[in-house]
């Protein structure tokens, strides 16, 4: 299927990406723990933000990729897009889980409760449930075009649901005081430039990490396919 040269080339590209991502993450860590000043009102715990927000960004981006690949799949019916959507959903769920873990750890000392039914936290939880269901759907059905089509439909439906979730959860909690760290105006407000720079750096590092993980996940699926193909074509006798 793949010729050996292309494989080698890909591996080299992969190595460059690994070093680049590792370096970016290292720089981001230095930024988070050494460079950036401690926030005045919240103290050290606010440093969680520099990886909490990138995790959220990464998972959201991953779900967006699922959406795009699902549409492309239904259009082109090419297994390639199915692989991308599957890989991206898996990565999205992993980072969504990290958001859901770090969120309460941040909330406990600041708001005094592990879980606050704040609009963002609630939406993230629902999003997580949708994409866990997506992965379950994939795990439940046999490999083939049916699984791919069903997953693609769910990938589209799930992403289109995000605005509805956002507004319903926002209005649901209107009469509660907005938590002051994350307000409706956005995250950038009230942060000085060094904080913004660190956050930006961290965002970049995590985006690189996404592509690194995508590469690995996609390779995994393709290896599985290749093994499957060989078994099917050469060892048919049974």
């Amino acid at each position: 299927m793949m010729n050996p040269d292309a494989v080698e080339e890909k591996q080299e590209e992969g190595n460059v990406l690994i070093w680049l991502t590792g370096f970016a993450l290292l720089v981001a860590m230095i930024g988070i723990f050494i460079y950036v000043p401690t926030e005045r009102t919240e103290g050290v715990i606010q440093r969680i933000m520099y990886f909490h927000v990138p995790c959220a960004w990464l998972s959201f981006f991953a779900f967006f990729v699922v959406f795009i690949c699902s549409i492309l799949f239904l259009w082109k019916k090419d297994r390639e897009w199915d692989i991308y959507a599957h890989a991206s959903a898996g990565i999205g769920v992993v980072f969504c889980s990290l958001v859901l873990i770090t969120g309460p750890i941040w909330a406990r000392p600041i708001w005094g409760a592990w879980w606050v039914w704040d609009a963002r936290l609630t939406s993230t939880l629902i999003l997580w449930l949708i994409y866990v269901a997506y992965l379950m759907l994939r795990a439940q059905s046999d490999a083939g075009s049916m699984r791919a089509r069903y997953a693609a439909v769910l990938g589209i439906v799930g992403f289109l649901n995000i605005p509805f979730i956002h507004f319903s959860v926002l209005w649901w909690r209107t009469f509660h005081p907005q938590p002051k760290v994350i307000t409706n105006e956005g995250i950038g407000k009230g942060m000085d430039s060094s904080m913004l720079a660190t956050l930006g750096l961290s965002l970049c590092a995590f985006t690189l990490l996404y592509f690194l993980l995508m590469g690995e996940r996609v390779r995994q699926e393709k290896l599985k396919d290749e093994i499957d193909r060989l078994k099917r074509e050469k060892l048919y006798s049974s």
Partner: protein, 47 residues
Amino acid sequence: MDNLGFLFAANVFVWGGIVYYVYTLKQRNRALEKDLDLLKETLSKEG
């Protein structure tokens, strides 16, 4: 305010989680590659 414990826990989860995920991915890919090589070898011996 001293919330270093919380910060530490969050870090353990995030970086531990990422490292674990990357590790399992790598491991799985390596196992699959080995499987594939084995399969190819068996097939070339037979054919």
